[in-house]
């Protein structure tokens, strides 16, 4: 996987775009945690598709986060990125926060987005099944929230990470976390609902919704809510998978995407 950069003049910044694989174009939008080191989902998708994965401002080497404040800013920004990347009618895949952005894009730009895949997307709120408040969680709590197999997930999360006891590394980690989660908070804090429910009816794209059966962060009931609200949609549930369904079961997610599109 390699990175290239897309300059965006109005943001006064450039966007880091990870690219890998050959085949049909697939745009991938990451969740609040960004890409993992050697991300298993990106690797699996790249075995069959040309994966193009831009990082949201605040993530990796993408700058310009101060210019993005709300859902509309981020949705239009990501449509600008899509246009700048000159992709051929890509399958647009978004995980969690990225799924929320992808759904918003599809609701706004119906002609540009005709193939949509939402992996455990954020964006809705059910009073009876509240989404977990990820902002108040401590690092050690994350594996259990993201993965069905917390131990294996924890290894994925900490791979390539430095020593948290080293003050200099800790500082860098805190800066990275503040940039990423600071940006994510503009869409997800304190409740990850920016009115998407009222716009889902506009989505005309052929839509695949994927949910891990063991998702404790955004419970599987949200899959049904998305399915109900998007007309041409199919819901696939994957067993022994948590919220990071793509990283935990990359082959199953790839299979579902290939079968659907």
């Amino acid at each position: 996987m390699k990175s290239k950069f897309l300059p965006l003049k109005h943001l006064g910044a450039r966007i880091e775009v990870v690219e890998a694989g050959k085949g049909r174009d697939l745009l991938f939008l990451h969740g609040a945690g960004g890409h993992m080191v050697d991300d298993p989902l990106l690797a699996a998708l790249a075995s069959k598709y040309r994966v193009v994965a831009p990082l949201l401002p605040g993530y990796g080497q993408s700058g310009g986060e101060d210019g993005l404040r709300d859902m509309l800013d981020v949705t239009l920004h990501t449509l600008d990125v899509l246009e700048g990347l000159k992709l051929e009618k890509p399958i647009v895949v978004g995980h969690s926060m990225g799924g929320m952005i992808a759904a918003e894009m599809a609701a706004i730009a119906r002609t540009e987005i005709t193939k949509l895949c939402l992996l455990a997307p954020a964006g809705l709120w059910l009073d009876g099944q509240p989404v977990v408040d990820i902002f108040s969680k401590l690092p050690y709590e994350l594996p259990g929230l993201l993965f069905h197999d917390a131990e294996a997930g924890g290894k994925l999360l900490t791979a390539g990470r430095g020593d948290m006891e080293d003050p200099e590394f800790l500082k860098q980690f805190l800066v990275m976390n503040a940039r990423r989660m600071g940006m994510a908070g503009k869409l997800l804090f304190p409740i990850p609902d920016r009115g998407l429910a009222g716009r889902l009816h506009r989505i005309t794209a052929k839509t695949l919704i994927v949910w891990g059966k063991e998702d404790v962060l955004i419970p599987p009931a949200y899959g049904d809510a998305f399915k109900k609200a998007i007309s041409k949609s199919k819901l696939v549930r994957i067993g022994k998978a948590g919220h990071a369904v793509g990283q935990e079961k990359p082959e199953a997610v790839l299979k579902a995407i290939r079968e659907f599109f």
């Binding site: 108040s136 503040a178 804090f189």
Partner: protein, 410 residues
């Protein structure tokens, strides 16, 4: 020197097993612990103590703002200050909150503070904290990364509203008002403003740009405050503004008794209550990602103080707390010596004296307060003679002849 007697108004009835039973004193502590009948008694006792502080000679009396917690029971400091306007006549009313990013529209703060200033005859000292992350983000739902921008805009609106003589339009990003028209107007032409800082470097420049006093609120004492305050004075020097000590203040837990041993006996349990229950904050609520700017995190000052200090509280003895100067406690002479060192090393013209601590009963609060006022404060008054021990820019400007209530009522 100016001494402000400052009240946090904690909930004094947290059980002994509080730390074991609850993860946090803030944000998600169930309010079934709060008993309104006992709250009634506590509020009135606390207000009596503030009024008492005026009678023994403190220059100011102070209140602040916190939400969803048992650490400090003043969601609205303005309500508390309003009661004090009626029962005091001389002391400055130091309102070290309103957390201005939390009000919609923030004009409400301009109006209420103007009310307090008029009611008190020009005794208001205004405070504009960003607010802790627990209050601002978790309890009041402000998006962390937008908190400071929202704060800056609210500040601009309040200042313009106080200064304007005619209605004006304010087209902010977060607040849009076609008619800003602040009735009443504050009595003071130049409202003195204190900015509570907790370690954000941006706050240095904000204070210097606006001629506000930087007030460092910390419970880890003056030895650990050096790094931060040195940073502030370094910035003052770089900006080539005067080095008035009244540009800065420091909050300090203070306990005075007849002897050092007596101080431990009298106040030890209450200091323990404060450090182990009132400051028991779940780390996940302490610092929402995006609340601190990248620049502040990069200076690293923050993590060194707060994280390490908070971790150590449960194991700290009275000896640890006093020897390392987390608290200034002991005989009048001990307290005088340590405070003199604090004032000179941090170069501060304002001390916010925290003398009600945790669950301290009223008689001990008054004992400590009286000893401080009679046997400590007089000896510390004249530490900044080259500034005539006063800086008009950083203190309130009361009306020369307050209208007696009797005449006002006629």
């Amino acid at each position: 020197m100016k001494f402000t007697w400052f009240h946090l108004m904690p909930w004094p009835h947290m059980p002994d097993d509080f730390r074991e039973k609850h993860r946090s004193v803030w944000v998600d502590l169930p309010n079934k612990m709060y008993q309104p009948e006992l709250g009634h008694i506590a509020y009135h006792q606390y207000l009596d103590q503030l009024e008492y502080a005026e009678t023994v000679g403190f220059d100011g009396i102070g209140v602040n703002e916190h939400h969803a917690n048992a650490y400090g029971l003043m969601p609205s400091p303005n309500i508390m200050a309003a009661t004090l306007t009626r029962r005091t006549s001389r002391a400055a009313l130091v309102v070290l909150g309103n957390s201005i990013a939390l009000y919609n529209p923030p004009l409400r703060v301009a109006e209420e503070m103007a009310m307090l200033d008029v009611l008190s005859g020009g005794r208001l000292i205004a405070g504009f904290p960003v607010g802790t992350s627990m209050d601002t983000n978790y309890a009041y739902g402000t998006i962390p990364a937008l908190t400071r921008e929202k704060y800056a805009e609210a500040h601009e609106l309040i200042r313009k509203a106080w200064a304007a003589d005619e209605p004006f339009a304010f087209n902010g990003r977060y607040t849009k008002l076609r008619y800003v028209n602040c009735w009443p107007k504050p009595l003071q032409q130049q409202m003195p403003v204190f900015i509570p800082g907790g370690g954000s470097v941006e706050t240095y420049d904000f204070c210097l740009d606006n001629t506000y006093s930087y007030s460092y609120l910390s419970y880890s004492g003056y030895l650990r405050a050096r790094l931060l305050m040195d940073g502030y004075w370094k910035r003052v020097a770089e900006r080539k503004v005067d080095e008035s000590p009244y540009r800065a203040g420091f909050a300090q837990v203070i306990c005075v008794a007849d002897t050092d041993e007596e101080a431990e006996r009298l106040y030890g349990p209450h200091v323990n209550y404060f450090y182990n229950r009132c400051l028991h904050v779940y780390p996940g609520f302490a610092d929402a990602p995006g609340y601190r700017t990248v620049k502040t995190i990069q200076t690293g000052a923050l993590s060194q103080f707060t994280a390490a200090a908070a971790r150590d509280y449960p194991s700290m003895s009275w000896k640890d707390l006093t020897e390392n100067r987390y608290i200034v406690a002991g005989s009048p002479e001990t307290v005088r010596q340590q405070l003199e060192e604090l004032i000179k090393t941090l170069r501060v013209g304002n001390i916010f004296c925290l003398m009600h601590i945790g669950n301290m009963p009223d008689d001990k609060v008054r004992h400590s307060t009286k000893l401080f006022a009679e046997k400590v404060m007089p000896h510390l008054r004249n530490l900044w003679p080259e500034w005539q021990n006063h800086d008009d820019r950083f203190w309130c400007h009361p009306m020369h002849e307050p209208v007696p209530t009797r005449i006002a009522a006629e």
